[in-house]
Symmetry: D3
Subunit: 117 residues, 6 copies
């Protein structure tokens, strides 16, 4: 199983468990989360890229991975991903760099997982 | 060895080493840490739950684990734990969700470790 | 007009404007915000105190004021408020102290605004 | 003098003083800052919106103002600004809301300052 | 009254009130705070500069002011202060810049308040 | 391969890949990063220690490791490292403690890796 699949499997398994608890607040936040990154006055791709930048400056590796996969599937190029991470590293500072390394590694895994299929 | 024991063993081993350095400031912070979550105008359980929420919004997995174990031992229910994490996720945003997943997993490990005994 | 009224008036005025924009995501987050701090497996007072602690460690003065007023109206004592801020200062560190000063000042204003009525 | 002018005047005055100190690291960071939000694989508008989102989730009012003005001048609509702030509030949590209020107020001032001219 | 005196007066007045509450945890944190920035394996000046950098990357204006005054009185030069802020801006990112502007302004006030005496 | 070598190898490998992308903003931030921790009005050792403190309060384990190795090679003693971490833990709060544990562990690995050679 690739690292991409591993990440998604764990994410899905735990989300299912959490949602089965029927905590209304959490269920609604998960629901909004799904309905935010959609076409509107700004297109879905721009919003997912914003989600990536927000995740990067807040230094949340799992959030970065999630948005990386989303934008990768939407056809964002490596150059565009790098420019998004550049904005993040400028605004968030050199402490973003370790997350940039892991983001870059995950991007390679996304590319690899597509080739493998 | 369960993940709960592993976490506690590492924590204890490193704390012992750190305290043996005799750095006064660190020793005193560790000492306050022990003496904060006690009954007072608010009871210890409420304070430990506050510690959990503070750890969750600051997204510190090890701190979350520590407070999860404390409240678990004090008889906090799964539903109460979920409501605490719901406040944390609302205030701290969707970047708290990956920590919620790991918190939920650790809670299961706490339940399992009790059954195993 | 007291500082408490000033804060609430500005807050209400801007919230009304923001909600009138009909952004679905924002409206739903505001809606969840209202429905989180209610009685459940944990009582509303405990959740508002958690909201206070979360706001304090994330160092959001306006959020602190909002939860201070909520817990003040629920009958939380000064001693209980101080213990909540103590947990926050321990977990969040000495950078929380300037926010503790402003929190304490706002608590005095809440007490004064009640006396004045 | 409008609040927009006031903000820009203070910003410019202090930047000039800081740059006159000839600290190489700071000068170069300021220089990169100017050269990041330009057309590339992503257009300048998208990058400025990313700067806005990054500033919002990191809760930096002055940074928010700066990027609001930039995107306002580039023709970003109120609806697009609101969608950017919606992503920020979802990812960053309810603690972003006080900054959303001030952002909205500043957007009104930007609109007003244009009408006044 | 200068801005430096104003800041110190407010700080002192609120600290006195807070300490009079006799919350043990808070009193002990205040006490450690006083006893950390002292000569040891590292000298007090280095520690105060570290306090400045920590405050800057955590973007706490009041904490920055406090440490600026401490290092100013210890004879730290403007160039050394700028180098400390440069490390902070590199590590913490461009969101530190608004705090750098206010730090620089406060440094000027410290210089002015000395001249005035 | 020791944990120190492992960390450095991964870091170097990923940095090389990232820099090969030729993103100007990122290349320049990496370049500044290299040129900040040098002798100036403050010496390089003081700046690296500041980098350590900034990394610790922002809770970036990889950044902490990087600066720990730098100061270790510059002859910083264990006692001085502990005093730097003490300032960090005071300013950043008890959530810094898990990072202190990992920092201490890495310091031991640095000492061990020197003995092994």
């Amino acid at each position: 199983m690739s690292k991409v699949e591993e990440f998604n499997d764990y994410r899905q398994k735990m989300n299912d468990k959490i949602l089965s608890e029927n905590n209304k607040v959490i269920k609604r936040i998960f629901n909004i989360d799904t309905n935010t990154y959609v076409d509107g006055a700004l297109d879905a791709k721009t919003k997912e890229l914003m989600g990536l930048v927000a995740s990067a400056v807040l230094r949340c590796d799992d959030c970065i991975k999630y948005h990386l996969e989303a934008v990768y599937k939407m056809g964002v190029t490596r150059e565009q991903m790098m420019e998004s991470m550049a904005v993040s590293t400028l605004v968030g500072g050199s402490i973003v760099i370790p997350h940039l390394r892991r983001a870059y590694e995950y991007w390679e895994e996304l590319e690899q997982s597509t080739i493998d299929k």
